[in-house]
């Protein structure tokens, strides 16, 4: 399997210092590098493209405002993940992005083979399937799955971000994987990714 981490390239300390000082070029570079990462996290937690777009924009501004005051002893990535997670939880609490049982059932009952995730022409279908699959997971399982299997954090990092034990993370991730296998397994082309 290909290596998971997507957010491996955290901004350098020099770039972060320049952003804190308000250098326009640094802010621009930081934003362009970080926005895709933040959007993907939001999409994962919210499982909804439009909500993810809104929350990602808000979260980027929030990150920029809080950057100078963050705890320097904590890694930038962990700090960013926590802030984005909290923004997404707030949005979910306000009632948006609720999943429905019908959506999950529709996904499971479809017999169409899933498109190649790299196929640009199938982008809309891939995004829709991804969102439905994520929405079929309970919130805690989804958070653990996104951080562990999609964002590629280590189990102990996920445990710290979610403030739960490592064994709980393993349980949540295992449950999420099982659900996804039941949802998608029959629709995956055999050997397509071998």
């Amino acid at each position: 399997m290909s290596s998971p981490p997507s957010g491996a390239g955290s901004p350098t300390p020099e770039l972060l210092r320049a952003v804190e000082a308000g250098a326009p070029e640094a802010v621009d570079a930081w934003f362009r590098a970080e926005h895709p990462e933040v959007y993907r996290l939001c999409f994962g937690f919210l499982a909804h493209a439009a909500d993810a777009e809104d929350v990602a924009q808000e979260a980027m501004l929030h990150l920029l405002q809080k950057l100078a005051g963050r705890d320097a002893a904590r890694s930038y990535r962990a700090w960013r993940t926590t802030l984005v997670l909290n923004r997404c939880r707030d949005r979910l609490r306000r009632g948006a992005s609720r999943s429905t049982a019908e959506e999950g059932a529709a996904l499971a009952s479809s017999e169409r083979v899933l498109p190649d995730p790299h196929d640009v022409a199938e982008h809309a279908e891939i995004e829709r399937t991804l969102a439905l699959a994520l929405r079929s997971l309970p919130e805690r399982e989804r958070e653990a799955f996104v951080l562990r299997d999609l964002d590629g954090l280590a189990t102990e990092e996920v445990a710290r971000a979610l403030e739960i034990g490592e064994s709980s993370v393993r349980s949540l991730v295992t449950l999420a994987r099982r659900r996804l296998r039941e949802l998608l397994g029959a629709r995956l082309a055999p050997g397509a990714d071998a």
Binding site: A26, F31, R40, Q57, L61, P117, L150, L180, G185
Partner: protein, 173 residues
Amino acid sequence: MSATHEPDDDAEASRELRELYRALQPPPLVDDADDADPETARAVRWMRDAWQGLEIPAARVPVAPRRVRRVARPLRFALLAAAAALLALGGAALWRALGRAPSAPSSAPRLADRPAPRDTSGVEVLAALPDRLELRSGPVRLVLLAPADDAPTNGATTNGTPTSQTHDLPTGG
């Protein structure tokens, strides 16, 4: 005959069941999806590839924050405090030069509580505080106050935090 052996058989069966139960091992919780069964690993891989290939919508890059107020505000107040101190010292010196007994600025009674001065040619310091200076010259009273917070200028910040001005960033991953 068999009835006499039944309790022993039951006990033996229970014991074996207990041993089997105690020997049960939970299924391993694999840490990495690579170590899961092939179908699970394939499903996770599809999710990950789809997630990493998400089309990133256009975003609005915030205008770089400026930090004018953080520097300007203390400086402006320091200048004002220095001016107030000079005024207070000048007023006291003038008072002494006029041969009057100086009064403690902070404990001086307010204008309304004092009797009207007979000689109105001098300047009297009524109060010299960090944010306020009160002077009196005859019937005229002058009160200097430290300026209140200004409305932030365009593009400026409050306590150094950036504004939410943005400009568009083209779509891209």
